[in-house]
């Protein structure tokens, strides 16, 4: 159980950007937690997909995702994208929400990630994703990037919060 839960940095976008990177992450916590509320400017699509990666590289990743879409359930694996969030064809002014938890981010073992992602829609085609992922790299995580999979920008008022969790 976490003893402390500290906001490291946060951002509410005042202009669109392709990605958000938290750099020079302090190595003084046990785990990291990222909470994101996002909307994509991705053309005519209902959804875009989150990318989240470390130290500037998208390599050596395996993601396993369980999803529920309109009453259908399933799973997939990927080496890059995680799960869906809102894009322009979804309900106006509605944002998708996501939480990514990264334990033991300073260690030399491979890094695991757990994810809970929801794409909101006030009609059909709401989507929910639960993910587990592995970054096969011994490096400590010093930067974390939140991107999207469809070459688009994050909309204004997208928010991202990075927390440090200490177990002692």
């Amino acid at each position: 159980m976490a003893n402390t839960y500290t906001l490291i940095e946060s951002k509410i976008l005042g202009s669109v950007v392709a990605s958000i990177t938290f750099s020079s992450i302090p190595q003084t916590y046990t785990d990291l937690l990222v909470k994101v509320s996002a909307r994509s400017n991705s053309g005519p699509n209902t959804h875009d997909n989150f990318l989240i990666y470390f130290n500037g590289t998208q390599s050596n990743r395996t993601n396993l995702i369980l999803y529920g879409i309109n009453g259908s359930v399933g799973s997939y694996t990927s080496t890059d994208y995680f799960g869906a969030f809102n894009a322009p064809a979804s309900t106006a002014n509605t944002f998708g929400n996501a939480e990514f938890y990264i334990p033991n981010y300073t260690g030399s073992n491979n890094k695991s990630i757990s994810a809970d992602i929801v794409s909101e829609n006030n009609a059909s085609n709401g989507q929910d994703y639960l993910g587990a992922a592995l970054w096969s790299d011994s490096a400590a995580i010093t930067s974390l990037t939140i991107g999207n999979y469809n070459a688009s920008d994050f909309a204004i008022n997208t928010t991202a919060y990075l927390y440090g969790i200490s177990n002692s």
């Binding site: 490291i8 940095e9 951002k11 976008l13 202009s15 950007v17 392709a18 990605s19 958000i20 990177t21 938290f22 750099s23 020079s24 992450i25 302090p26 699509n45 875009d48 997909n49 990318l51 998208q58 890059d80 994208y81 990037t145 999979y149 469809n150 070459a151 688009s152 920008d153 990075l162």
Partner: protein
């Protein structure tokens, strides 16, 4: 030109910089893969729907009646 936001957690400094050519190339590759995924999912859903309709037609029952069989 698309930009990325970098937030330095030590200093709190926030900088917005243009993507490099390499980052733009990666972004374009990701977008192509995304569109391929979307098309594949749509094709899969259409195939399954067609197969279901064909089976119901063969059996001569409605989707509601089929649901009763497996309920």
């Amino acid at each position: 030109m698309p930009t990325k936001l970098i937030i330095n957690c030590e200093t709190g400094e926030q900088t917005e910089v243009e993507l490099t050519a390499e980052e733009i190339a990666q972004r374009e590759a990701d977008a192509k893969a995304f569109q391929a995924e979307v098309k594949a999912k749509e094709a899969d859903a259409a195939t399954k729907a067609a197969a279901k309709a064909e089976l119901l037609d063969k059996l001569g029952i409605t989707a509601e009646e089929a649901a009763l069989l497996v309920g």
